[in-house]
Structures are given as C-alpha cells and as structure tokens.
Amino acid sequence: MNLSAASWVLAGAAATGVAAFGSPLAADINFRICGLVIVAVSWNLMAGAGLISLGHSAFWGLGAYVAILSANRLGIPLAWSLIPAMLCGAAIAAALALITGRLRGIYFAISTLAMSEGLRVVAVMLPAVTGGSTGLYLDTRLAAGNRLINLGAAGGAVAAALIAWALTRSRYHFALRAMRDNETAAQMLGIEPIRFRVGIMALCGAMASYAGGLGVWHNGYLDPGVAFDLQTTIDAQIAPILGGIYSLPGPAIGAVATVGLGELTRLLLGKYTGASLLVFGILLVVVILALPKGIYSIIRRDGPRRRVRAADPVGDGVRP
C-alpha cells in the first residue's frame, strides 16, 4: 500500500494500542487527542460544505447531557447510552439545518453561535432536568472502565477518519464542494442544498455528540459550563485550521498539534492563568495570516499559500 494509507493504518493502530495497553498518562492524552480528532473531523466536514460552525460545543454538550441523563435516569451502560446521544445530536443538527434554510457564511455562523449559547442557558435554567449550575454526577454504579472508554474514543477517531475518507470517494463530496464554492451555482446544477445540508449536519452533529458522550463518561461530571464550553468550540476550529483545512489528514494532524500545544503551554506557562488560551488565540491569528492551509500544506510541499484551483479534491482522494 502507498505511504499515505500506511501512515493512516499506523496512526489508527497507535491510537488503539495506546488506548488498550498504554500507561494512564499516555492513555489520557490519547483519549483527548482521539476525542478532538472526532470533533475536528466533524467540523472540517461541515466547513467543507461551506457551513462554518462557531457553536460545535452545542453538539458536544448535548451528546454529553443525553448520555449522562440516559445513564442516570435509565441505567443504560456506556455503549448504549452513546446511541441516544448520537441520535439527539443528529436531530438537533438537522433541525438547525432546516431552520437556517439558505443562510450562508457569517449568518449561518452566527446562528450556530446562538444555538450553542442558547442551549447553555437552557441547561442552566432547567435544573430539574439538567441539574442546573450545580451539575450532574455520573452514577458511580455505572462507571465503565477507563480502557473501555479509551478504546471507544480510539475507535471513534478511526471511524471518523474512515467516514471522512468514504465521503471523499463518493459523489456526495462533489455536491458539498460545489455548495461551498457557490451555493446558488450548485443549485443551478441540480443540487438541492437543503438535502445535503441536513445530511452533512446530521452526520457531523452525531459525531460531535458521540465525542461528548464519551467525554462525560470519562469525566464523570457535567454542568452547563463544562458541557457548552467555548474551549470545545475553539479546539474544534483550531485543530482543522492548524492541521490543514478541507483536507483529510488535516484534522488528525491538527488534533495532535493542538493537544500537544495545550500540554506544552500548561507545562511551561501553567502558573500564569490564561496564558495557554492567549497562546491559542495568537496562534489562530498567526495561522490564518501566515499559514491558512495549515501544517498539511507544508507536508504536501505545495507551500502555505498555494492558490486553490478548481480541480482540487476535497479530501486526499487517491493521491499519495
């Protein structure tokens, strides 16, 4: 097999291996990377369709709440509680797609922001359901082993990468690509934007909710601030941008870089509260200005500011 496929298999094997056999520290970092890969891939897929999400934490948080509530209220164990989480994530994403209709660009972005903040307010104001600001603790009788949770994350990351790859091999990705470039023109070619929007958003919502459900099982505690944390949204954006937006390996590379950078700043600058997010903010600005196509563009040796041509594939396709 070629180099690209080999490196993918290696990465997947490494993630699963560390999850299954690694030390607690390694497994923990692996969990965070895999969780971020899932969210980053889902953000990247949406961005690839021209749908900029500034509220990805909405899906994450919703998945987390559904998972913890189905576990606490209905006694459902880990694996099964993730299914309603994914379904709810898909449902709300589809609903958002239908509500926002034809909105594009900045207007769509603002509506995603409104949704995530709105959900946070709802979570705070309904303590009977969500425990309000005091939060919910996962029922300790149901606690699943760390190995299982980490494997779930690694499996999810591999699945996310496979889904993204499968999309690039299908006709779906041409439609999404066309929508990203110019939705009106795409419509004239017979692509019905609503159908594709609902589809891709439901998929991405489900993925992010899966990550959220796993997150709450991992942490054991949830409150509206944690669930709908701005940090989740920021990470979801930084990882694909840093790694290489619209590309297949971009989110994965970016996830590793983001978690790595987070750890590095925590070690070096940890005593200055807020320093790590300051670094992330500056990094985002610098990357947008100097390296808009991310780290992957350097690896491809096309240069950071390669002009995008019409024939560029969305994902890696079959290129080595």
């Binding site: 900029i52 926002t100 603002i110 920021i234 509260t273 320093a275 300051l278 600005v285």
Partner: protein, 290 residues
C-alpha cells in the same frame, strides 16, 4: 400593570446602552462586511481602563471617557492595519476565525494581566437613585443613557454631515462607485474599524460602573451586540439603535413578568437572533443578504 412605568424606564435606559454597544459593530460590518468578533473585547478593555483610572488615580469614568475613546480609536486603527486588512478579500472562514482569534487573545491578555477577579468601578452615582413616587431611576443608568444618546447622536450627525462620514456611507453602499468618486477604500475601512473600537471602548467605560467587570465579559456583550445588529439589520445604524431598544425591552419585560426571568434574559438575545434569521434575515432596516 403598575410595573409598566418602571419597566418602560428601565428598558429605555438599557436600550440606550445596548444601542451604543452595537452601533460600532454595525458600522464596521456595513463598511467592511466583516463582523468583528473582537468587539466585545474592546468593551472589556474600556471597562478595565475606566476602572483602573478610577482605582489608581481617582479619575471619574466620565472624565476618562474621552481619553479612553481616543486610545481605543488608535488601538483599533493599528489592529486593523496589522491584521484585518490582510483578510478583506479572503474567504469568510478566514475573516471569522481571524477576529475570533483576536478576541480570544485579547480576552486572555486581560486574564494574564489582571486575573479573573470580578471588579466594579464605584463612583458615587453608581448606585444612587432618584425616586419619583413609585418609580426608581438609578443615577448611574441615567448618566450612562445620557452619554450613550450623545455618542449615538454624534455618530449619526457625523455620518450625515461630515465629509468622512459621508465617504464611509458611500463605501458601505457601493465600494466601486465610491472609489470612482475618489474615496480611498483602505482609509475608510481603517476609519470605520477604528470608530468601531472607539465606540466599543466608550460603552465599556460607561458599563464599568453599571455591571461587574471581568475579562470574560466581552463574549456576552458581543452576543448581545450581534443580536441587536441582526435585529436592526446589518448596515443600518438607525436600525441598530431601534434594535437596541427592542432587545432591551424584551429582556426587561421577561425579567419582570416571567418567573425566574432574570436567568432567561441571557437567552433572549439568542432566541431573537434565530427568530429574526428565520423570519426576516435582513432585520428591520438592513440591506438584502445577496
């Protein structure tokens, strides 16, 4: 119903403040077509500026206001030239993420410098109250309203009668035609962004004695400003002013009449955003979305 007078007074006073908070954003968007996600951070820095000047040197926020506005104007100009100018023609995604990144960085500069502790500027009029029969009017709010009205009126006059103001409006209407008329778009963009930040800092200075000051106050301010701007219609300053009053009225009414309403007021802005985007995306008086 006996609360109605109090309700109206409170919403009018709050509306003026919201209008001031949002017109900068509206102007910036109308001209550059970029929503400045760092807007809230300028408000935050204005509040901190007023606070520190009061705490360290005893300068009243109303006196430090002009100084802060000038500082905000210059800082905005520099920021624009250094970063935002480069993405004027870039895809939406880059513009959004750039200003998002700037907002994130600015917010945490404040966290690193001043920690997350909550502060509040407290000149004498911050909590003093006028009482007219059954109605309470907090002096601080009244003063804030007066300043807001002055600044908003000032901006509207500038846009209507000043040379540069009319040039800015021309660029907002039709960039190419304005360029043909001899207006330099680069200067106008920088100018409108600088005014955006100047007005943001001004609203921050006023807010310093009304609400608590933390480095994280920028984000909720930004969301409310976005709600007001969308409500009023992107690109229309009078629409934004109207939007500010509408949002203020909605929030105050909910806070008064709905049980636990004060907690839900945070969500009003978002519900309004989504509602407006569904029903009439161009807002009350905005340009079409094409």
């Amino acid at each position: 119903m006996d609360l109605i007078v109090q309700l109206l007074i409170d919403s009018v006073l709050l509306g003026g403040l919201y209008a001031l908070m949002s017109i900068g954003l509206s102007l910036g968007f109308g001209v550059t077509r970029i929503i400045n996600f760092a807007h809230g951070e300028f408000v935050m820095f204005g509040a901190y500026g007023a606070f520190w000047l009061l705490a360290l040197y005893g300068v009243d926020p109303l006196l430090s206001l002009p100084l802060l506005v000038v500082a905000g104007y210059l800082a905005g100009w520099v920021l624009f030239k250094a970063t935002i100018e480069k993405v004027l023609n870039a895809p939406h995604l880059n513009q959004i993420l750039l200003t998002f990144g700037i907002a994130l960085a600015l917010e945490h500069v404040a966290v690193v410098l001043w920690t997350g502790d909550v502060r509040s500027a407290s000149p004498a009029y911050a909590v003093a109250t006028f009482v007219f029969g059954d109605v309470f009017v907090v002096q601080g709010r009244l003063i804030a309203f007066a300043v807001a009205v002055l600044l908003v009126a000032g901006l509207l006059c500038w846009l209507t009668w000043a040379e540069n103001g009319r040039a800015v409006r021309a660029i907002a209407q039709n960039r190419d035609a304005a360029t043909l008329m001899g207006i330099d778009p680069a200067r106008m963009y920088a100018l409108s962004f600088a005014i955006n930040s100047g007005l943001g800092v001004a609203s921050g200075a006023i807010v310093s004695f009304l609400f608590n000051i933390t480095p994280f106050m920028g984000f909720p301010v930004l969301l409310k400003a976005i709600a007001v701007v969308i409500l009023g219609g992107l690109g229309s300053i009078p629409g934004t002013v109207a939007g500010g009053f509408i949002l203020a009225f909605a929030e105050t009414a909910i806070a008064y009449y709905v049980p636990d309403g004060a907690g839900w007021t945070e969500g009003i802005a978002f519900a309004l955003i989504v509602a407006i985007l569904i029903v009439r995306p161009r807002g009350i008086a905005g340009q079409s979305l094409a």
